[in-house]
């Protein structure tokens, strides 16, 4: 099965674009059909490879957004203005066209319903993507693991999966947003960066031994992980995935 250490080479496979979903002004989900897809676990990623007419190639990694679903694999991609690959995936690739992909990759930052909880997910911006795969996997399995998502976005318009998260809430899933830069009129939720006080309010107590998954830009994840350790949570129970530079 996917993700186990005993497995043959991950070959480059053809993936056909079947659908594009606009998530926010800067983020789109591309739904791919991969006939050879072996299945995946929530939290895993894929490598995507583009090839120019002269043979030049570039590879990038993208988190899988979808729960296991046959040959369908959804990637949620943030368009980086100076990016080499992401603008092509979000704006140029057309349904019916194919790219190369290999995966699933990664056996650590993964969660399956059998892993249990309570589950505490902490997302910064597009770091929500692999965590959404966990929420979707939980929902698809009709699993009732107590799960909380603390999700930091700049503004309401930047919240990825907003409607779906609202729909999936309940049945043991709680979603808490914080909007750091601007808030809509009447907003009563958090309106600041994730800090230790917020984590103490939202996360289960250390005695409940929650499993943490934190994903986002490097300074965000550094701050979250450090705060969780200070709050008394067990470092090995805090799994992190960071992207981007350190800002130094």
């Amino acid at each position: 099965m996917a993700g186990t250490a005993v497995r043959g080479r991950l070959t480059w496979e053809l993936a056909e674009l079947v659908e594009v979903v606009v998530e926010t002004p800067h983020v789109k989900t591309i739904v791919l059909d991969v006939p050879s897809w072996p299945g995946h676990r929530a939290g895993q990623h894929v490598d995507v490879r583009l090839t120019a007419a002269d043979g030049y190639q570039a590879e990038r990694s993208y988190s899988i957004a979808s729960a296991p679903d046959g040959t369908r694999v959804a990637l949620t991609v943030q368009r980086l203005e100076d990016g080499e690959v992401s603008p092509y995936l979000t704006d140029e690739l057309r349904p019916g066209e194919k790219i190369e992909l290999r995966g699933p990759i990664g056996g650590y930052f993964v969660w399956e319903p059998s892993d249990g909880g309570p589950l505490m997910l902490v997302a910064g911006g597009s770091g929500v993507v692999p965590l959404m795969a966990m929420i979707r996997t939980r929902a698809a399995a009709r699993d009732d693991t107590e799960t909380r998502l603390l999700y930091s976005s700049r503004s309401e318009d930047d919240v990825i999966y907003r409607d779906e998260l609202e729909r999936l809430s309940g049945n043991g899933l709680g979603v808490v947003h914080t909007l750091t830069d601007s808030q809509p009129p009447g907003w009563t939720g958090y309106a600041r960066r994730v800090d230790p006080e917020m984590l103490a309010e939202v996360a289960p107590r250390p005695a409940q031994r929650p499993r943490f998954y934190a994903c986002g830009p490097t300074p965000f994840v550094e701050a979250v992980a450090e705060a969780l350790v200070r709050l008394g949570h067990d470092p090995p129970a805090i799994k992190t995935e960071r992207f981007g530079p350190t800002g130094r």
Binding site: A5, R9, R49, Y56, G107, Y108, T240, R242, P245, T246
Partner: protein, 207 residues
Amino acid sequence: MPPEAAKLVVSRGWRGRRSTDVDPARIPPGQYVTRDFPVLSAGPTPHTSLELWDFSIIGELAEPRGWTWEEFLALPSEEITRDIHCVNKWSKLDTVWQGVSVDTLLAGIETSAEYVTQYSDGGYTTNLPLEDITGGKAWVVFAYGGEPLAPEHGGPARMLVPGHYFWKSAKWVRGLRLHLSDEPGFWETNGYHNYGDPWQEQRYVGD
């Protein structure tokens, strides 16, 4: 493998953005050059005080060796300028480090070990054949770009093994364990390649 996958799959209209100021021979397959210094860590950043820090050589040797932070800094160190390559696709060229050669740490040790595990605060491990970190191929570094190594980049000290993908350069390293047999480490048991040669693009199991 379906026959069509063996052909070049050209992405219509995509040109890519090639570095014009970099010798392509310095970039392993599938890598791109970054000026940033991204971070890849699986868990919280450990913070070990320098009073408690030590570095040890343990395992297959007659007498374990160890250095306190002060003793470690008193060892002969050198400036090392190398290109580094992360399995997450970025490469960073001409990075400048200060550190102690593993050859210095192992000098005079007699061992029948053929493998080594780097082990770190926080529980991280990574494995290599011993010959891949000896003979001027690896260092324990404590400064980057002329500054003390930042915690998120592995400070106070990390390994530098530039011949391999950068997960083979353990952050927050506390010692080397010498083994008779190969013992796959953290990422090596989580889907990544056991050897990790960037020039062979050995990213994942089976590559």
